[in-house]
Symmetry: none
Subunit: 270 residues, 2 copies
């Protein structure tokens, strides 16, 4: 078994049981204690679990605020996300009806909308976005109802999917965890995948917001193939080769650090 594969299984076991001992994991994964301990160390560094004496426990307690301040320390990714959000904002027009999917990139777009005075209807499945968007008195907000996943704070479930089908959306903006030419758009959680698919199917213009780190990755749950979206907004990619391949799929790849025709600039408090 490959190391990554084994670590993925550790996470799965932890999500199922909330905790696991080292011995336990050894038996299930046919690995030595040393290997399991090394895996746990790696996964703890990635903040995917919490080590305790004897094993590990899952800490599904990941408030968005914490994540935000974490990224703020990281710096570089937050900057990229802000750049991507600016480009996405430049695609908005007065009287658009848009959908904003939950995520750390789309939240930057929500903040931009909240600081602007654009007249717009915003649907979202991310309850915590509303306080940012509310800063713009000309924005009308709608939230999907349903159960909330505590770690991403996104609404998921059948009620939400049923509701989204009742609206006509002009533009939809979705964040994903992984983009691959072969496997399309994928994300780790099944219910979120269902939700994102339903949203994409309702949008007339479909935008994916994803920084460069998301490319050529695959997560557990399939959303849709690449061809199901119109535009991917990302931070700058090194390889031109990748861009060409996306063009062949009928997808426009926009890089945040370069200007494209048809965009107008948005500059914070202008």
């Amino acid at each position: 078994m490959m190391p990554e594969e084994r670590r993925q299984k550790i996470i799965e076991i932890l999500y199922a049981n909330k905790s696991a001992t080292v011995k336990n994991l050894c038996d299930q994964l046919m690995a030595s204690e040393a290997t399991i301990r090394r895996d746990l160390t790696v996964l703890e560094d990635e903040e995917k679990l919490e080590r305790v004496h004897g094993g590990a426990i899952i800490q599904s307690n990941v408030p968005i605020e914490k994540e935000d301040t974490y990224n703020e320390k990281e710096g570089v990714y937050l900057y990229e996300k802000k750049q991507i959000a600016k480009v996405a904002f430049s695609y908005l027009r007065e009287n658009d009806s848009i959908f904003l999917d939950g995520g750390t990139t789309t939240i930057e777009l929500a903040k931009l909308i909240g600081r602007s005075r654009i007249k717009i209807n915003v649907f979202t499945n991310a309850p915590h976005f509303t306080q940012f968007i509310a800063g713009n008195p000309k924005a009308e907000q709608f939230i999907l109802g349903g159960r909330i996943r505590n770690n991403t704070l996104a609404v998921v479930g059948q009620l939400a999917i049923d509701t989204i089908r009742r609206f006509r959306l002009n533009k939809v903006f979705i964040g994903v965890n992984a983009i691959s030419l072969e496997y399309g758009l994928t994300t780790p959680d099944f219910e979120e995948a269902e939700m994102k698919r339903a949203i994409l199917e309702k949008g007339r213009e479909r935008y994916i917001l994803a920084d460069a780190s998301k490319f050529n990755k695959v997560a557990l749950c399939e959303i849709l193939p690449i061809s199901a979206v119109d535009t991917i907004i990302t931070s700058s990619l090194e390889e031109d080769e990748i861009k060409e391949k996306f063009k062949l799929e009928g997808v426009l790849l926009v890089e945040a650090t370069k200007k494209e025709a048809g965009m107008y600039d948005y500059d914070g408090d202008a």
Copy 2:
């Protein structure tokens, strides 16, 4: 069982039963008294419980974080709201299904739930509450869908009212702007009044959270008469006369700064 796992279970047992003896915990967790005592010492250092001779009780006086700066304009009322929220929290039990109405008092209750580990289902029409409640991994959250009023950030409208009717709620907690014996509960916005009425009609136990400044006031839109609620939790009122009149209407008036039977004390030095 791993130490951390066992300590989490201790917290769970305490939330379910409000208190536990050392012997009791020994039996449930198959550990010696020495081990349990050590666990209790650790958990007390982490301020997750309070040790007493013979065992431990829950002590939900959670560390106050920076959030005060956000609400600083509220000033003296914020203290009253926190006190009211603490009393409201003391009415919660494991596996309750509650509704939390949007408002500046109920948000303090949301924060308490988020910092606790009580197992509870929370329905709300206030999207911005979700990030607080998400701090508690054992809380399941549901949000009503619909249009959001930008000034209160509460979901209103027919879709939300239709949705709330599909659920059975154990306890509902509502904030109001004005309470009057003659005119009942009133609030300035028509749609919010509709919403609050729908919620109150669904609740088995109905609690109103209102500080003393809300009494003997009338706002534009009628919600329901006083008799439609079971308990009003408020800060201390000067006049005993008022309390008597509420009692005649079949409403229990609880003052946050005084102790009442049936409440468990969760702030030792209050």
